[in-house]
């Protein structure tokens, strides 16, 4: 595959669109949990807030600064985990992590819905941390660890 095909896979239309107009870019009102995430390598920082009721993520949002990949991943994540249980969100993270580290052949891509657009990341090992930052932060919030998580 040429360098420029790799780039097109990384910066797919949907990824660029989400990075420019991130969904759920706000603070959840009456949040029951939150956590801050930080990628010291590139200075990316974001805060995930969520409202969990009866074990279900009723609302989730994020705010912060970061590269296109980390913002798009955060935006897509908020859409994907809403109305899911903790266990489902955790399971989704595991599959997304596999997707961005091992590539599209490693998971059932169709079952991932929109998140499948992150598959291009696997060709860019240096960017895996960007794609995972929001997810690590979500996990910290779900586990009640509000302190800053770091991808280093």
């Amino acid at each position: 595959m040429s360098a420029s095909d790799d780039l097109k896979d990384l910066y797919q239309e949907v990824v660029l669109e989400h990075s420019k107009r991130p969904r759920n870019y706000r603070v959840v009102e009456g949040a029951t949990a939150e956590a801050a995430g930080h990628n010291p390598l590139c200075g990316d920082q974001l805060v995930v807030t969520l409202k969990v009721e009866g074990g279900v993520i009723k609302d989730v949002a994020f705010q912060g600064q970061g590269c296109a990949i980390s913002k798009a991943s955060a935006s897509l994540m908020t859409g994907a985990v809403k109305d899911r249980t903790r266990a489902e969100a955790e399971d989704l993270f595991e599959r997304v992590h596999k997707l961005v580290t091992e590539g599209p052949e490693s998971v059932d891509v169709d079952a991932l819905g929109k998140l499948a657009v992150l598959s291009g990341v696997s060709e860019f090992p240096a960017r895996v941390k960007c794609a995972s930052l929001a997810w690590h932060t979500l996990r910290a919030a779900l586990e009640g660890r509000g302190e800053a998580v770091s991808t280093e």
Partner: protein, 407 residues
């Protein structure tokens, strides 16, 4: 330009002649670490093949040769920075260790609770954290000379910050994040007028222009071998002899002592007092080879090439739509730090990398100055004596490609 032909120079650097990601390598990250000329590579190999032995200890021929090579390297460094005496040259691991050494020896002895350490807003973490640590250990206070929006020091603020409690001024010669050349000679003059010693972080200076420590007048000058085309793991702390002699040792061990009993240790003379343990012999030998390489090119020629290329690159980058230079000091060297439209530097770096272009993106270990410019990170292209206008043109094409991806 007499005696300096960049195409000739490029031939001396084997690593440059390769394709990466299907394109010719364009290396614009020399401020992070510089590539090595064949002369340095050969010197390392030769040392291992012919002369390797421990120094200052053996009576045998190899130890004599190794000692001669190591002490010869010290003399080469002395000449390069025009120190008065080779004893003023302490070999260390790099700039970072040099500054830690001064903080933990000079600093621990002379700086106490309520005293002040003065640095600047544009220091590398290597010239912040060792002082922060010292302040935590002693109760001293860290003071900071501010920078303005061009990335120059606010010189008007300096005199008021040099107080009767200031015990040292530690300042960079060239900012690795902005490229600003700091008037360290003038700062030294002002500090010395109040009896305050000065440490200069020369990591980004010695590769770009001639440095004369006697002319600067500073008390300490620190730099790294790997940024000046030499090996990693070797660096230099220059210290005026009177200063070094008044300083307690740094680490303890072999070579830094004259005699040891279980009751009493007598420390060695300078500079050996600061070089505990077997030093980085091949590193010193490689550094000396790098210096001889630079001397053969002529530092004045290197400086002229850098100035000319920086001017060309500045103009070329400023013509890229949406590009904003971070650091526009009137006197700059080697570094172009910038933001491209609203594209995050990390994305810029990834796309350039796919074009075979190596730049650095991030905070460049200088977070306080990033905070001043209210950016979490920048893209940084840095220039060295082997870079060409073609490299700059490739960078500009790459940046247009970034804009294309992000429309």
């Amino acid at each position: 330009m007499s005696g300096f032909d960049v195409n000739q120079v490029r031939k001396d650097f084997p690593i440059l002649h390769q394709e990466v990601r299907g394109r010719p390598l364009v290396y614009l990250d020399s401020a992070a670490t510089a590539q090595k000329p064949q002369a340095v590579i050969d010197a390392l190999v030769r040392f291992y093949q012919h002369d390797n032995a421990n120094v200052h200890r053996g009576v045998h021929v190899l130890s004599e040769r190794a000692t001669e090579a190591y002490e010869g390297a010290r003399e080469t460094v002395r000449r390069f920075i025009n120190a008065r005496d080779a004893k003023e040259v302490v070999f260390v691991r790099g700039t970072t260790e040099a500054i830690n050494l001064v903080a933990q020896t000079y600093g621990r002895k002379h700086i106490g609770a309520g005293d002040e350490v003065l640095i600047t807003q544009m220091e590398h973490h290597a010239n912040i954290v060792p002082w922060r640590m010292l302040c935590e250990q002693t109760g001293a206070v860290l003071k900071v000379i501010p920078v303005d929006d061009r990335g120059e020091l606010v010189l008007d603020a300096v005199d008021a910050l040099l107080t009767e409690r200031t015990r040292i001024l530690a300042v960079t010669h060239v900012s690795n994040a902005l490229g600003t050349v700091v008037p360290v000679k003038e700062l030294t003059r002002r500090a010395h007028a109040k009896g305050i010693p000065v440490l200069v972080d020369g990591a980004q200076a010695v590769t770009h222009f001639p440095v004369d420590v006697q002319d600067l007048g500073c008390d300490f000058y620190a730099f790294s071998g790997h940024k000046m085309f030499g090996p990693t793991g070797i660096g230099v702390l220059y210290g005026r002899k009177e200063r070094l002699e008044a300083m307690p040792p740094y680490q303890g061990g072999g070579d830094m002592i004259l005699s040891v009993t279980m009751e009493k240790v007598t420390y060695n003379r300078v500079p050996y007092r600061f070089e505990a343990g077997t030093p980085n012999l091949e590193g010193a030998v490689g550094l000396a080879a790098a210096i001889r390489y630079l001397e053969a090119l002529g530092m004045e020629n290197v400086a002229a090439h850098d100035r000319e290329l920086l001017a060309y690159a500045t103009q070329a980058l400023e013509a890229v739509p949406g590009l904003r230079m971070v650091g526009t000091a009137r006197e700059k060297s080697g570094v172009l730090s910038f933001m491209l439209a609203d594209v995050h530097p990390h994305d810029v770096g990834t796309i350039l990398d796919r074009e075979g272009i190596c730049i650095r993106t991030g905070h460049h270990c200088a977070q306080p100055v990033m905070q001043h410019f209210k950016v979490p990170a920048t893209s940084r292209a840095s220039l060295a004596l082997y870079n060409t206008r073609e490299d700059v043109d490739a960078l500009v094409r790459g940046l247009h490609k970034v804009l294309e991806v992000f429309q």
